[in-house]
């Protein structure tokens, strides 16, 4: 498949990069990324990946756009209030790049659907806002042998890591199991700066681009932390846990599991 003149122009700033070239752009156009959560992290990730020419993007979210989302969820506009986020995000991506195949999936992720949801994709972006979903995505990606980007944000801080099968720690290596509901603060209670979500979600998109194009080094085996108030980035090397319940030598988790969720925090 050759690029049209219009495509060569659209992606010219990629193609001119010697690490990228036509070859890298072709890899993107054949790439498939699933973004779970069309929120603070998912919005910038979706816009950048659509703009970059990723061939197929799935976007999963069960919620509708709410006025309180718009401070950070930049793929949605004021006119989208009340509309399903997956549909609104799809429209946002197609407005940037109509060539992208976008699949809007209006669903919550759970142990019963996660393996089917991730099956068709090369790379998964966790843009969810709760621990049961984050552990579920981790376990499913480890079990299916899929690379994914984990990220979390709170107040003025963010963190992310990239899991690549066979290389480096998974999310469960670090945190073992979800904290009890209400044990640690959530964005809803504690707040979060919109631009922080933009920084971290854009880093997730960058990881997906590198993975698909096969360039650079992924954030695997390390946790990148970002303190927005002091503008400090730190890359913390992560050990693997040999006895990790999902990626360890003798895993006790061999299928996705659902964790109980506090009712007031019921989102993805």
């Amino acid at each position: 498949m050759a690029f049209s003149n219009e495509q060569l122009t659209r992606y010219s700033r990629h193609i001119i990069l010697k690490e990228f070239g036509i070859k890298g752009q072709k890899k993107l156009s054949r790439g498939r990324v699933l973004i779970i959560g069309a929120g603070g992290l998912g919005s910038p990730a979706a816009l950048y990946l659509a703009a970059a020419g990723v061939g197929c993007i799935g976007i999963v979210d069960a919620d509708d756009v709410d006025l309180s989302n718009l401070q950070r969820q930049i793929i949605h506009g004021t006119d989208d209030i009340g509309r399903p986020k997956a549909d609104s995000a799809r429209a946002g991506m197609l407005a940037v790049n109509p060539e992208t195949e976008v699949r809007a999936i209006r669903a919550f992720v759970h142990a019963g659907n996660i393996m089917d949801l991730i099956r068709d994709y090369d790379f998964i972006i966790d843009g969810t806002d709760n621990f049961p979903a984050k552990f579920l995505i981790n376990d499913a990606c480890v079990l299916a042998g899929k690379a994914f980007s984990h990220a979390g944000i709170l107040r003025f801080n963010g963190q992310l890591t990239t899991y690549v099968p066979g290389l480096g720690a998974c999310y469960r290596c670090i945190f073992k199991e979800p904290p009890p509901p209400e044990a640690v603060p959530t964005c809803r209670q504690a707040g979060v700066v919109g631009a922080l979500a933009g920084v971290v979600g854009s880093l997730q998109a960058m990881e997906a681009v590198k993975y698909l194009a096969g360039i650079g080094e992924l954030l695997s085996g390390a946790l990148l932390t970002y303190d927005a108030l002091t503008t400090t980035f730190r890359k913390i090397r992560l050990p693997r846990r040999a006895d990790c319940a999902v990626c360890g030598a003798l895993p006790s988790i061999t299928a996705p599991v659902d964790y109980a969720q506090a009712a007031c925090d019921l989102t993805l």
Binding site: G42, K134, V184, P185
Partner: protein, 68 residues
């Protein structure tokens, strides 16, 4: 003794354990923090017996659940 805590070298009383360091560093939600000592995870039941020595590197990893 000098410890490197979250990337910064600082002076601490000799022979303190991880439990004391967590207090001194005013770690938020100490029940749910993951600790890496010299690039190895320490089980939360092992903070008391983890006595620190000069030059040790300690990282605190926090649950961060937000995203939307």
């Amino acid at each position: 003794m000098t410890l490197i805590v979250a990337g910064t070298a600082k002076e601490y009383p000799d022979g303190i354990n991880l439990t004391r360091l967590i207090e001194l560093e005013k770690v938020e939600t100490p029940m749910y923090v993951t600790v890496a000592l010299n690039n190895a995870f320490v089980e939360s039941g092992g903070f008391e017996t983890a006595v620190l020595k000069d030059g040790d590197t300690v990282e605190f990893l926090y649950f961060m659940g937000g995203g939307r």
